[in-house]
Symmetry: C5
Subunit: 337 residues, 5 copies
Amino acid sequence: MPHSPVQSANNTPPVILELISYNREQYEKSDTLNIDDLLQKINPDRVNWVNIDGLFDTDITDKLQSHFNLHSLLIDDVLNDQRPKTEEYDDCLYVTLKMLYSINGENIEYEQISFVLGSNYLISFQEKEGDLFNFFRERIRLDLGRVRKMKADYLLYRLIDIIVDNYYNVLDAIGNRIEDIEDNLNENQDEKTFARIQRLKKELIFLRKAVYPLRDALSKLIKDKSEFIDEDNLRFFDDVYDHVVHLLDSLDTYKDLTSSLMDIHINTQNNQLNKVIKVLTIISTIFIPLTFIVGVYGMNFKHFPELEWTYGYPLIWGGMVVLAAVMLMYFRFKKWF
Amino acid sequence: MPHSPVQSANNTPPVILELISYNREQYEKSDTLNIDDLLQKINPDRVNWVNIDGLFDTDITDKLQSHFNLHSLLIDDVLNDQRPKTEEYDDCLYVTLKMLYSINGENIEYEQISFVLGSNYLISFQEKEGDLFNFFRERIRLDLGRVRKMKADYLLYRLIDIIVDNYYNVLDAIGNRIEDIEDNLNENQDEKTFARIQRLKKELIFLRKAVYPLRDALSKLIKDKSEFIDEDNLRFFDDVYDHVVHLLDSLDTYKDLTSSLMDIHINTQNNQLNKVIKVLTIISTIFIPLTFIVGVYGMNFKHFPELEWTYGYPLIWGGMVVLAAVMLMYFRFKKWF
Amino acid sequence: MPHSPVQSANNTPPVILELISYNREQYEKSDTLNIDDLLQKINPDRVNWVNIDGLFDTDITDKLQSHFNLHSLLIDDVLNDQRPKTEEYDDCLYVTLKMLYSINGENIEYEQISFVLGSNYLISFQEKEGDLFNFFRERIRLDLGRVRKMKADYLLYRLIDIIVDNYYNVLDAIGNRIEDIEDNLNENQDEKTFARIQRLKKELIFLRKAVYPLRDALSKLIKDKSEFIDEDNLRFFDDVYDHVVHLLDSLDTYKDLTSSLMDIHINTQNNQLNKVIKVLTIISTIFIPLTFIVGVYGMNFKHFPELEWTYGYPLIWGGMVVLAAVMLMYFRFKKWF
Amino acid sequence: MPHSPVQSANNTPPVILELISYNREQYEKSDTLNIDDLLQKINPDRVNWVNIDGLFDTDITDKLQSHFNLHSLLIDDVLNDQRPKTEEYDDCLYVTLKMLYSINGENIEYEQISFVLGSNYLISFQEKEGDLFNFFRERIRLDLGRVRKMKADYLLYRLIDIIVDNYYNVLDAIGNRIEDIEDNLNENQDEKTFARIQRLKKELIFLRKAVYPLRDALSKLIKDKSEFIDEDNLRFFDDVYDHVVHLLDSLDTYKDLTSSLMDIHINTQNNQLNKVIKVLTIISTIFIPLTFIVGVYGMNFKHFPELEWTYGYPLIWGGMVVLAAVMLMYFRFKKWF
Amino acid sequence: MPHSPVQSANNTPPVILELISYNREQYEKSDTLNIDDLLQKINPDRVNWVNIDGLFDTDITDKLQSHFNLHSLLIDDVLNDQRPKTEEYDDCLYVTLKMLYSINGENIEYEQISFVLGSNYLISFQEKEGDLFNFFRERIRLDLGRVRKMKADYLLYRLIDIIVDNYYNVLDAIGNRIEDIEDNLNENQDEKTFARIQRLKKELIFLRKAVYPLRDALSKLIKDKSEFIDEDNLRFFDDVYDHVVHLLDSLDTYKDLTSSLMDIHINTQNNQLNKVIKVLTIISTIFIPLTFIVGVYGMNFKHFPELEWTYGYPLIWGGMVVLAAVMLMYFRFKKWF
């Protein structure tokens, strides 16, 4: 069934396992590579956060599956590229979404992160080592905020909230890039501008694809009132939902602004072309008739009275200067330059 | 959790506190900078309007939070940039929207305003000093209209209504700008026109982003039938809702008109280019063959009978005039000029 | 609260009052300018149609308000520009929509008309004197059709139906204009065509804005099953609703046809430009090389064998004619003319 | 109330009446022009199919109305141009849709057909003589298929199904035209192509207008579970509904393909223009400098050393040939030809 | 009723029948061309998968219809081109969708496949021999996975899942083609690029038409909770539904990317045209005035002082070189080259 696995089978890095287990009084963090040890350390009286970086070890997934009694489809979903969604199973709640990495909003990378929430545990599956949660791990350890006083559902909320807040950073960086391009559009326009607008457009397309389904996923989560989320805590997920809707509004706005940039770019290009053609027309329209005139007096007719005139040459010059001046005035009047 | 605070932390102006407390018989206004004094002056038998300009004083927000028993998420929402929304909490109703400032519909500035409505109080959080409510404060003091006879929910309605009515002013100014550009399009078209249309388009994009969510927010407020709003007064919010829908219709109309302006602009530009190219073609098409003809008679062949003819030169002139006239008639017939 | 009054305060024409009061046996029409007299003449046993042309007399609205016990928001809505809507109050049903005036579908004027339907009365508020109902007034007087046998709700239906039927006339006129422009597009295309298409587009935008909300308003009226409309008569409003939906379909069709006209116009323009450029290219491509050739034999080299040849001049002519013919054949082959 | 009658009042052809009355054992067909005779022949124990071609005889409609107890609005709807719809009345079910006539999918003609279904009768109102049902009449007579075993509701289904199946023929013909144009686009492109695409687009617009509302009409028919349609037979209408949705999918696909054709056409035109301009540029760029060179040696300066050189003339020729060759190579390198 | 049969009546290949009948312990596969034998071999205690390649044998369909008690509309649907849909009958569940064949995402072929699911049988109707199920047949035989432990509904799920997974392969191939074109766009742009983009666009249009209705079909299947699908197994169909929604997201993304490609193509074309016109303008603008100058000194006036000057010729050359240099610098400054 796996159609496009989130990880290629070869050159898989080793899977990294981590367990943070806490309650109001106690806190314990274990970094271990052995799944059996980890499962033994799980303490049903505490909140157990099992974090797994790198997914492709069937031994680990099998043991997790049997220990937490996970559905085979859930494991399939964890291992394959998914649209952000939430799904309620008998023994747990499954949530998957995309984690974004980006410097300055360029070359955004997407990592799929899946959460399995049980009554006293939260498993997070990540594709690669490294995430956005280090500051938050520190806060748990130091017992800052209310996380230590709450259950696993609050932990899930905080992790999703951190991921969604990071979307804002990416979006702000994109906003800056839009303003940047806009400033350049008026100054010096070159071919790179078009490429930059196109890249922006493409990134917005992919961003929307990653964020849009999250809205429905969260809305479903809130409406279904899963038994794994305390009803008082639904308000927190409601808040994240509002943030996602706000994000989508901003994405739409950025999409509109980007297509405005395209319009401006095209208009600038057309203006340039018009100017070039006007230059061509002005020069041609002035000199082609003049060249005709001097051609006339270059003819070799035997009987050619003007050529004999004493002031023929200066008269011709005078006539040509007047003609050119009239034409220039005409173009000026037409606002061609 | 704060992702993009509505105010930057440094150079914050001092927070301004104001309390207007009234009922049918009594009216008292206190301008004070001390939150403790203000909270003491709150009179549960009256409607208490607490207005706060400038938000970033944790001391004040903490005391408000504990005094009115506000949810921490509510305080988060007040302090950060939000999509317009309404949210019902156990002890209060939260409404946030955007207040607009603009002269002639240009350079519209957006200020977030949040309302917290309790049974006998209304707190309004503004980002900056100065608002649209001065005339209305006067009306309360002088006991004009029915505000003094009503509860805090009516006060909330009036404030939202004043903000929404101001949207109309902004929109009317934009309507005037559209007509203004349209008049100019036919007269003298220059590069600034395009920039003006683009600026208009951008302002409409941002306006829509600010107004559109307000429709859903108000609709939710009306449907949820919050306990903090008297059911008889829901009709007033219904009226504001109708205004917002009307506004959105107008925004759509303006968007269509603006894209019509773009079409007209582009068409005018193309027409100009066509005219320039026609001028080039007419001049070239007439003079290039003539120049060829005079070139012929400028050749230096020894045996060149025409050159010897007595009337060669005037004959050539005649031929060329006829040729030019025929061409001009052709172009005239083709309606090129 | 009034944000954009439907009438400006100065130069208001006098308000015109009219009362038509009828039942199966009796009919009485009173044209009077005095509101008190009118209110006294209202006969609770008949259907009373109070028609008011011109709105800005607070004395009249105040007396109507107190006599019929109207809500203050209703009076506000009557006096200000509204989106078409229906609203049910405790004592009456409020309906507002737009009445259209137009000759040949050009320069469509919009007048807001508001209806207040009570159990035995219908008040119609119009902005200006003059309406579409004169034929219908005659039908009431002569007891044609079934209106005299029915209640005020049927009267409301007939008035709305007359207004909506008039939309069809306006739309048919617009349909004719579209066909008219289409015929012209193929014949003689000038700059006015574009302006005509744009005007059409603009009129469709405004028409849609006036008609579209009416669909929802009528749908709400039908679904809400107001107590002021007999359930048997809902079918009539259903019929008007169908007409409005049909109208909106036609509006969409016309919008598509208009954008087709734009496409045709742009294509014709491009074709013209292409032809102009082809003429330029043909003439230039033929004569520029020929001019070069005659230029060659206009050089003044001392040693220039061809110039001495007896048949040099005719040979050159022959060569140039062949060259021009080859080029013309090439362009013909390429279907440039 | 009639706003746009489906038939003009003058030059109305005579109304044609037809009655087919059948049950499992009996079959009787009467072609008669007298409405009274027809109504007398109606046999309540059989299925009575009354078919009326041409509508504008108030005598007939009045008698039908009183005999079958039809609502006045129903008769209005039959006589006027309607959006496809279904409407349930107390004594009957009303369905109206469009019947299409077309040869090769060109010049599609639309005829409104209305059905009134009672418990034991079906009235079909057609605008003109001639329809798509002749084969089916034969099938009833010969007792083919199950129609003779079923009630009037099945008859209605079969007639609608025949009309909808004919839509497929029209659509297939349009599909062929699209392929036809596409083939031509690559071969020889002329101005007619554009006109053909536009005509196609227009026909798709009108087709959609005729078919789209039918979907909603059928959906309403199925959901409302009218008493005049046996619940077992709803499945047949469900099948027609599926066909209509399939048709709309195809219409959308054709619309997309047509706009693709437009893109191809425009691209071909632009390519042609680009080629023309390249020819102009190549010829001009090669010969204008050469003409300048020969012009130089056509000057009449007294002191002009080159003119005296013995090999001046061939040298110049050589130089010009080299220059032209270099330019040609440059254009070749730039892939201009 | 058949409007566009999925197979033409002539040159129909022979119909191929196949029966796979299995349960947890037993497995039997029969390839036979005789429908009677096949029907006899059906074992009500096992899952019976009847596969039929090629449809147009009325004898077979009649026997299947009577044996499984199938509705006549169902058989109609199997034999004709259908929109993907699911339909529940009294004795079975009907599902139809499209199976895709493609090499590298080019020339996608669509084959309609219909499934009829009963309590202990699944009939699959295919248009042609050959399908995507050979690997899966092997898995059934070898009792891999859980298919042998499950009922016919799971078999249906697996077959649909295999078809949908194959959509991913087609889509990935299309994704590769998009990237391929994008790479080429920047390198060497020719007329084929445009044709490739158009073909891509067309394939996306048809793909969407095939996949989009499947979403609704599956959603209906899941919501209706058919009695032929075990409620526990609905989760599997839910999973396929998620895949289809994901596919549609990707299709939308690809559509956006393709229209981006078009924008890039058009921009590149315009850039090229601009460059060609700039070359024309530069050459013309430099040489046309120079040609005029040398024309001046080619005039044959008797009184022409400059011609007598000793350094006239070199001076003119100097002047012309300066003029050309100034112009080149101007164009350089304007960034024309």
